[in-house]
């Protein structure tokens, strides 16, 4: 059985700065995979290369065995992506965005209409029926992004910071959607820097530090006896320099 996502030797440098330094990762089918790392560790760059949004300097990625760069059409119908902070068709309403994308993917119109309605209702976006995406709040943008990732019924979800700026109620909704997706045989890869969230949701985890994989495996293998946060701090070797406190703030 091929892995849901297999990343091999991905590398990317921007000028002098090496963003991703030969990353290998295997996401087994049916797993809920968390990617953790500090800001600038290379999570977003790795995920963008894994789904074909950024061309790697070397290495490659396969989605259910389909090479992202050699067979993009097959690979990309199997994956749903939620990138962080990218634009949407801003002058459309949520329903129009989903209709547009569904048709663009070659889905039948009645299927698109039905799924769009369901997604909007589940994600509680149907109350803002006439609002254009450009006027959405950050949390609403995440939710419509997730809806676009789910629309075509992918077998793998790749989500970059899906819970950032999402309110607790919506976060619960998203969590239950994702758990249901994994229970139904789907696979999820998400990046986050909230350790508690990854510990709560994921069964596999990889720690990325300075563009390399510092540790990867099942959650229990990576965190050992302690919490994921302790294991993470130990792995990335954070110095305590930031903990000194700011002298002018205390009286």
């Amino acid at each position: 059985m091929s892995a849901a996502l297999e990343i091999s030797g991905l590398a990317k440098a921007f000028g002098e700065k090496i963003a991703v330094d030969h990353v290998d990762l295997t996401v087994p089918q049916g797993s809920f995979y968390g990617l953790v790392g500090q800001n600038g560790a290379g999570k977003t760059t790795t995920l963008a290369m894994a789904v074909g949004l950024l061309r790697p300097d070397s290495g490659g990625a396969r989605i259910f065995g389909a090479d992202v760069w050699a067979e993009p059409e097959r690979a990309k119908t199997l994956v749903g992506v939620l990138p962080d902070g990218l634009a949407m068709p801003e002058r459309l309403t949520g329903r129009e965005v989903l209709t547009y994308l569904g048709l663009l993917r070659g889905m039948a119109r009645d299927v698109v209409v039905e799924r769009a309605g369901e997604l909007l209702a589940v994600l509680e976006l149907d109350t803002a029926e006439n609002t254009l995406v450009i006027e959405y709040s950050t949390g609403m943008r995440k939710k419509i992004g997730l809806a676009t990732a789910l629309l075509h019924g992918p077998r793998l979800l790749v989500l970059d910071e899906p819970f950032e700026a999402v309110d607790p109620v919506s976060a619960t909704t998203i969590k239950s959607i994702l758990r249901g997706f994994v229970d139904g045989g789907g696979s999820v890869v998400l990046s986050s820097h909230v350790m508690a969230l990854v510990e709560q949701l994921c069964d596999h985890v990889a720690v990325i530090d300075q563009g390399r994989v510092a540790a990867a495996g099942s959650l229990d293998e990576v965190r050992g006896a302690g919490s994921l946060e302790d294991a993470f701090v130990e792995l990335v070797g954070a110095s305590g320099a930031g903990a000194k406190g700011l002298s002018w703030l205390s009286r």
Binding site: F14, G15, V51, G52, L53, L54, R55, P72, E73, K76, V79, V81, P83, L86, A87, M88, P89, E90, R91, L92, T93, R95, E96, T99, Y100, L101, L103, L104, R105, G106, R109, N130, T131, L132, V133, I134, E135, R141, T148
Partner: protein
């Protein structure tokens, strides 16, 4: 004052940090162009009769008043054309600092004087001093100095206030359309300004009413002061200067008020009402694009602008009693609308990721259809109406309309993927809706490129139509269809082969590094080499092409027109040596730039290869 100086320092730092080879080239080119215009303005001060009062023929004061009116209109309406004007320091940066609006406005104003445009304008305003000298009055020269500086402040402030008003106007559809109409008319008037001069030439100088109006514009107040000083009319001179000071205070207050509205007001709200009824992938792209055209107020503004520009551009010849241009209104509109949408993909920003995630769906074709559906009917209607009013000719305007429609619908997507100017994502744009990119110089270049290349696509049909009549229309339809099909296919394949690179360009705002290690990075060059490269790349074309090759061709053809070609002005035995010298100079400039930028064979890389 501390705030103002800090902001000025901040702007210098931002400009210094954002400088690269491409930007430096644009800045040098802009400065040279500006200095030519400023030099022209100073030259105007030497033309005509300087004496105050009634004179026969051209009056220097009138000419200067007209020139400064053009400069002022350029300051006011330039930002509309070049992406919202200078926004190096945005007011949003300072919302949390808690500055009072007036201090904020004063600080931003001070920072506005750092840059090429104010320096160039100051050179143009130096014509006031020249004029004072020609009037032979020490008092005039003395008055000209403060008048110069005050005029510059007025120009910069008018520009700032106009941009801020535009920002507010673009929050409603009515405002967007009204702004598009007025901007189009005024820019067309600037472009066709020569018409007025020809008209005035016929009556032997600028008529008194026009000259009075020109002087009563704020751009003419400095001139009033200088002329009044020459006549010894001190109260009038002082009053003119005081009026400028008052205007500055008022504008500063208005700008401060507008700044608070800009940082506090919400986004424009246009509601989505029509349900999407498309059933195919291409239909969906068309539906999305059509909605964007109607709902995005900046695009509303652009289309209205193109319309007003075209209508006024062709109809202002009516002032001279000529209506021959009217049938070509549609053609002008199509080219201008193309120029306005030149950065088709850049304006939409990183939404390209969705296209990349749905391979196989043809995005470009849908965009072309939407563009044709938006621009085509209006363009055709303008052509038909124009030709109907003048009673023909029919074939040439129709041929051009068909050819240019197809040409622009092909060129626009093609150029926007080949020369993508990274934009600011729509949801991240600040309070200035005209500001769709940080790189307004490249945006302007792209607009002109569409006008130039789009214009070329009309040439075959135009030639056939002007020689043989109606068959030209068929040629126009054929070349138009070929352009739509061919250029669209090229754009599509570029999008597929370079999609990730284009997305990366938009994400980071920087063009992807070329894979070749043969070219040195501009920032790594020593200062001397940077100067050589900048001057060589940006100015080498002037001696090589116009002054060298074109002048040579004209000389060989025995052309009478001398224009600005040095080789045609020098006495005979020297003409050809000048041509040769200019060609060699151009080659040397390009060669020098190439020499400092190109690394023939990187030694570090050559060694390991030899060892292996």
């Amino acid at each position: 004052m501390a705030v103002a100086l800090t902001m000025a320092a901040m702007k210098m730092a931002v400009l210094r940090n954002s400088m690269n080879s491409q930007k430096a080239g644009l800045v040098v080119a802009g400065a040279v162009l500006g200095l030519i215009l400023a030099g022209g303005t100073v030259a105007v001060a030497f033309v005509g009769d300087p004496n105050v009062g009634s004179v026969t023929g051209w009056h220097t004061g009138d000419l200067l008043a007209a020139a400064y009116a053009v400069w002022m209109l350029g300051w006011i309406f330039g930002p509309v054309f070049i992406g919202g004007g200078d926004e190096t320091l945005r007011p949003e940066y300072f919302t949390l600092v808690g500055l009072r609006p007036r201090r904020l406005a004063f600080g931003l104003l001070t920072a506005s004087f750092i840059g090429v445009a104010p320096a160039v304008s100051l050179v143009a305003l130096a014509a006031l001093v020249v004029f004072g000298v020609r009037l032979g009055s020490a008092a005039s020269v003395l008055i000209a100095l403060p008048a110069m500086l005050l005029s510059l402040v007025v120009f910069v402030l008018l520009s700032r206030v106009a941009t801020a008003v535009m920002g507010l106007a673009l929050r409603s559809r009515v405002g967007a359309i009204a702004a598009g109409l007025s901007n189009g008319v005024i820019l067309a008037a600037l472009g066709q300004g020569w018409v007025f001069f020809v008209a005035f030439q016929q009556v032997g100088g600028i008529p008194p009413t026009a000259s009075a109006i020109l002087r009563y514009l704020p751009s003419g107040w400095g001139l009033i002061a200088v002329e009044a000083a020459a006549q010894g009319a001190w109260p009038r001179a002082v009053a003119a200067l005081a009026a400028m000071c008052l205007l500055i205070v008022l504008l500063l207050g208005a700008w401060a008020a507008l700044l608070t509205r800009r940082t506090s007001a919400a986004r424009p709200s246009v509601r989505g009402r029509r349900p999407m009824t498309a059933t195919s992938a291409q239909g969906a792209v068309v539906a999305k694009e059509m909605r964007t055209w109607t709902r995005d107020l900046v695009r509303n503004h652009q289309l209205t602008f193109a319309l007003a520009y075209a209508v006024f551009f062709t109809s202002c010849m009516l002032f001279m009693g000529m209506n021959g241009l009217l049938p070509y209104t549609g053609a002008v509109f199509i080219l201008m609308a193309g120029a306005m949408s030149a950065n088709l993909y850049g304006t939409d920003g990183t939404v390209l990721w969705l296209t990349l995630m749905t391979p196989g769906a043809s995005e470009v074709r849908g965009r072309q259809w939407a563009w044709l559906l938006t621009v085509g009917p209006v363009g055709l209607a303008l052509t038909v109406a124009g030709a109907a009013i003048t009673g023909g000719p029919w074939p040439l305007p129709l041929a051009l309309t068909a050819a240019l429609l197809g040409g622009a619908a092909g060129i626009v997507p093609l150029i926007s993927v080949y020369a993508l100017v990274p934009g600011i994502d729509p949801h991240r744009r600040g309070g200035n809706p005209l500001r769709s990119s940080e790189d307004d110089g490249s945006l302007t270049g792209l607009a002109y490129a569409v006008i130039g290349l789009g214009g070329l696509t009309g040439v075959p049909a135009g030639l056939v139509a002007s020689s043989y009549g109606w068959p030209g229309v068929a040629v126009g339809i054929v070349t138009g269809a070929l352009c739509v099909w061919g250029f669209g296919a090229l754009a599509e394949s570029r999008l597929q082969s370079h999609g990730p690179e284009l997305l990366q360009t938009m994400r980071t705002g920087k063009r992807a590094q070329s894979a070749s290690a043969r070219w040195k990075k501009f920032d790594d060059l020593p200062k001397r080499d940077q100067i050589i490269a900048t001057v060589g790349w940006s100015l080498g074309a002037i001696p090589l092409f116009p002054q060298g090759i074109v002048a040579g061709v004209m000389k060989a053809n025995g052309t009478e027109e001398k224009s600005w070609f040095l080789a045609l002005h020098v006495p005979d035995p020297w003409g050809w040596p000048v041509v040769v010298f200019m060609v060699l100079l151009g080659i040397a400039m390009y060669g020098g730039a190439l020499w400092v930028s190109y690394r023939p064979r990187p030694r570090e890389e050559a060694l390991p290869a030899a060892a292996a």
